[in-house]
Symmetry: C2
Subunit: 122 residues, 2 copies
DNA sequence: GACGCTATATGCACAGTGGATATAGTAGTG
DNA sequence: CACTACTATATCCACTGTGCATATAGCGTC
C-alpha cells in the first residue's frame, strides 16, 4: 500500500470521485458496480461516476490504504454471490482521511459564506 | 466570453483554484498577484495558488464571464499604480456561479456528515 | 440464442494543477 | 550607480483525475 507514516491531512484534498466512494462504503461493504449505484442514489442521480473513473479510483485507494478488498470468506453471505464481484471495505485510515476531508470542506464552506456567497435556497 | 445562455448550475463543479479566486474578488477588485496573497491570507497560508494556475485560471474565467478586467480609468485610484498590474472584478454571473458552488458544497458536506464522517475538531 | 443488464478493466483524450522558467518593472541598500 | 529582493505576468512541461468509448464476459429472461 501507500505510505504508512502519512497523516490523514497530508492526503488532502481528495479527488471528488474518491470522496464519493468513501461515503458509499461508510455504512457497508460493497463491490464496484454497487458503488456507482449507491453514489447515484445518495446524490439523487446528480453524481454519476463513470466506470473508468470508478475502477481506477478503487485501484488507487486500495494502494493508498483507504479501502481493502475482502477475501472470499469475508464477503457478505446474504448477498447472492457473483464470482465477478470484488468487494471493498473502508479501513480505519480511510475513515480518518474522509473525516479530515469533511473538516476541510466545512472550512471551505465557512470561507465561502464569509465571502457573502449565500445560496438562495437549499 | 463564454455561453451567455448557460445557467450557473451548469458551470459546476468549479475547479478549486477558480472558487478561491472568486472568493478573493468577492469584496473588492484585485490584480492577479494580490489574489494569490489574498487567498493565502484567507486560508491562513494553507492554500497557496501557484502562478501558473492563477494566471491561466484568470484567463479562463474572464472568457467564461465570471470576472471582467478593469479598464485603466476603472482601477482603484487609491492604490499606488503599477503599470504591470491587471485588475479584475467579479461579474453578477460570476457571483451567481459562486453562490451555486457554495450550495453544492453545502449539500456535499451534508452527505458526508450523514455518512458518519464527523470531524473531531473544528 | 438473442438481448439487456451486471461487472470489471483498459485505451484515449482532455482539463486543471504545480513547479520551473522567462521577462521585466519596482524598491531599498550600500 | 550596482546589486538584490520582491512584485507581476506569462508560458512550458509533466502529471493526475476524469469522462467516454471499447473490450470482455457472466447473468437472467424471454
Amino acid at each position: 500500500m501507500g505510505n504508512r507514516t502519512s497523516s490523514p491531512e497530508s492526503e488532502l484534498p481528495l479527488p471528488a470521485a474518491t470522496f464519493h466512494i468513501l461515503m458509499a462504503l461508510a455504512d457497508e461493504d460493497r463491490h464496484g458496480y454497487a458503488i456507482i449505484q449507491e453514489v447515484a442514489s445518495r446524490t439523487n442521480g446528480e453524481v454519476r461516476l463513470s466506470a473508468g473513473t470508478l475502477y481506477r479510483s478503487i485501484q488507487r485507494i486500495v494502494d493508498q490504504g483507504y479501502v481493502a478488498e475482502l477475501t472470499m470468506r469475508e464477503r457478505p453471505a446474504a448477498d447472492e454471490d457473483d464470482a465477478r464481484r470484488r468487494y471493498y471495505r473502508l479501513t480505519p485510515f480511510g475513515r480518518a482521511v474522509a473525516e479530515a476531508e469533511t473538516r476541510r470542506l466545512g472550512e471551505l464552506l465557512r470561507l465561502a459564506r464569509a465571502s457573502g456567497f449565500i445560496p438562495k435556497k437549499a
